[in-house]
Symmetry: C2
Subunit: 209 residues, 2 copies
DNA sequence: CTCATTCTGTACCGATCGGTTCGATACTCA
DNA sequence: TGAGTATCGAACCGATCGGTACAGAATGAG
């Protein structure tokens, strides 16, 4: 299809795409974020994207693939705080990055309240079960990476010896998801920030039985 | 319509209902719980209830009313731990009742994982926005009652003076919702119990800035 | 018995679902 | 310029959506 395989700059035969795929994806992301996978119809999506169904299918495959792409974009955009937090030098800073980041990402003015990774497809009927599985994997992957990061912190002596990193990860991610649900309920940013502050004020929690 | 207005025992004219409405509601509850409001179709619901659409509409009004009724039943059944927890004598016992109850309710064998009040309609399209509003009110009402209970605990000296009851409520309810999301992701009961244990092990958290 | 009343199953309603067909259009390449 | 190719808009697809009309069936009242 590409005329020049050695240089994919442009050189594509045929009528050029009449829209910016990245910007269209951004619009679709917001619709999925606000309405969830099942609640976002092709009509809603394509209207927000400013393109027709045909163009969407040509560019992204189908609704499910569009959702996957939107989730990827979410991870790099509004959800980027997770990756940034994991690179913080201390376990405390990691937790702070996750919790403060969650508060801000789930209460961004002009964006839907809550987290796409949570409310995008938490419970679905049969047609949405693949989207649900994608989000379950997304959440569990995030949890694993936080646990690994805390494991490293224990090894480095950055967390008290005997700390259970999996347990600590589950605690922090539960708070992140809980903050997201509260945000989706309309709770104000300041109130959620107090939750994050409370957790960090009592950091690290003792993980003994 | 009732033949005897002074005694509504039965004495209803016409063909008697051929199914147990409460049992049918219980079946509908499970479908909403597993698939969410939008993901649960009338076909799914009535098949599980063992009745026809006509009978469902005659007994419950419409899908939205059925959902409301199912949520009420959920509050008295699987979600009953909230009301029970609020009657515990100490703030610590209240928190323990909420967290341990959430762990068990969201990981009941034979029931969908997670919480109906969270995953029933967290993000929806236009047709589901009333169900979403119902759940938002349900969650916020629960949060208010927990805050009121903690307020009482502060007044009684059961919590350290200066404790912010609203803030503490938000912290606990965030964890309850977070546990619910984790459960919906397939996290095992034991792992979630560790989250509850961690919170209680560090109870009460300091709520200073 | 008859009659009014209520419930049940079938068959159906318009609207919308996700997805596709197709001809017109706009581009690159030779 | 003409051949080849990809995109575009509109109209359309069968399936399913939530919800109903209607006729038969089962009851209590008289």
């Amino acid at each position: 299809m590409l005329v020049r395989m050695d240089d994919g700059r442009k050189a594509r035969a045929g009528r050029p795409r009449g829209f910016d795929a990245e910007e269209a994806l951004e619009r679709a992301l917001v619709v999925f974020w606000r309405q969830g996978y099942e609640g976002a119809t092709l009509t809603d999506l394509t209207r927000a994207m400013g393109i027709t169904r045909t163009s969407m299918y040509a560019a992204f495959g189908n609704k499910e693939e569009l959702f996957r792409r939107a989730l990827d974009r979410y991870s790099e955009g509004p959800g980027g705080y997770v990756a940034r937090a994991l690179e913080e030098p201390t376990a405390r800073a990691v937790a702070a990055g996750l919790l403060n980041g969650a508060v801000r990402a789930t209460t961004r003015p002009g964006c839907p309240a809550g987290c796409l990774g949570v409310q995008g497809a938490l419970a679905t009927g049969d047609p949405g079960h693949r989207a649900r599985d994608v989000l379950i994997a997304w959440r569990n992957d995030a949890g694993s990476r936080v646990a690994d990061r805390f494991r490293r912190a224990v090894a480095e002596g950055d967390l008290p010896p005997g700390t259970d990193p999996d347990r600590l990860s589950r605690y922090v991610t539960s708070l992140v998801y809980g903050i997201s649900v509260q945000a989706a309920s309309g709770v104000a940013r300041d109130d959620l920030q107090q939750v994050a502050d409370t957790v960090l004020r009592n950091w690290p929690p003792a993980t003994g039985g």
